[in-house]
Symmetry: C2
Subunit: 146 residues, 2 copies
DNA sequence: GTAAAAAAGGATATTTTTGTCCCTTATTAT
DNA sequence: ATAATAAGGGACAAAAATATCCTTTTTTAC
């Protein structure tokens, strides 16, 4: 459904949301280990995620690392997809047709319209913080097939 | 959502379903042109789709080509995904975790379980023939961004 | 001001996906 | 039989996604 890059981005963001604060920053090493992702590749992704401190923040030097503010956590999960330029998934035609639309639909347009709307709603209505809260209770972010 | 390969497979299958019969076979050239896909690559995909004549049939030589029987068309669209080994989409974890399950869920497991079930139902309940019928009425299969 | 820690960034490598080319095999019609 | 047509299949090429490595910059502590 999503690219590996986006999977890592989602896992990393949720881990950071669940385990960091401006007072408790996390290193790339800790994050990559926690979400079972390749360290250097994850570093690149974190770079993108923290590029415009609106989602994830970072600071260099000893004691530095990645973290999330409370405010950032209140945003909908969709912002993670947007930051990775992968929110296209929610708009594009399942059959790959560029001009597929309500007026000129592909054979699966109508059916998938509903499903895509559900996914859209999910990512819009669910905040990063609420997903992070769940990782404290009963869910996890580790255990990838690599 | 799907790979290009699967997009082409879906488009090609629906085109064949909508426009062929054992009496009216379609050449690779016609199919690729009709669904706006790279000719040789499409040939490979058709090879896979017709490998075990259960979905698409083919015959060589003059007058030959690809076609679908009425019986094959009655199958659910899911068989296209299965033939392309891409039905995994319907089972795998959105966050890419191999051991994600009801018992040990990722933070998005519960929400996506519903959505994946909807997609599964869609592909299971919808026959190839009914999608093909739609292409005759108001939908189309051409116009890809390439 | 030196050293250490940590992210930023650039260059490069590997793997997978997507796509092409060309030769072979099967079928049909003449 | 021969030629023409169409799919089958193998080898190869290009592009994109994934992944690694190494150097630079920033910050902190001493």
């Amino acid at each position: 459904m999503f690219s590996k890059t986006t999977e890592y981005a989602l896992r990393a963001t949720l881990y950071i949301a669940a385990n960091s604060s401006p007072e408790r920053k996390l290193s790339i090493n800790e994050i990559a280990a926690a979400i079972d992702s390749p360290r250097s590749f994850t570093a690149k992704i974190l770079q993108r995620l923290s590029a415009n401190e609106r989602l994830i923040s970072s600071s260099k030097g000893p004691g530095g690392g990645f973290y999330m503010t409370e405010k950032a956590g209140k945003q909908p999960a969709k912002i993670i997809l947007e930051t990775m330029d992968e929110d296209a998934l929610l708009n594009k035609c399942v059959l790959g047709l560029s001009r597929c639309s309500d007026e000129k639909p592909c054979p699966m347009h109508k059916d998938f319209k509903v499903i895509k709307a559900d996914i859209y709603t999910l990512f819009t209505k669910t905040s990063i913080a609420s997903l992070a809260a769940d990782t404290h209770k009963n869910s996890f972010l580790k255990g990838a097939r690599r």
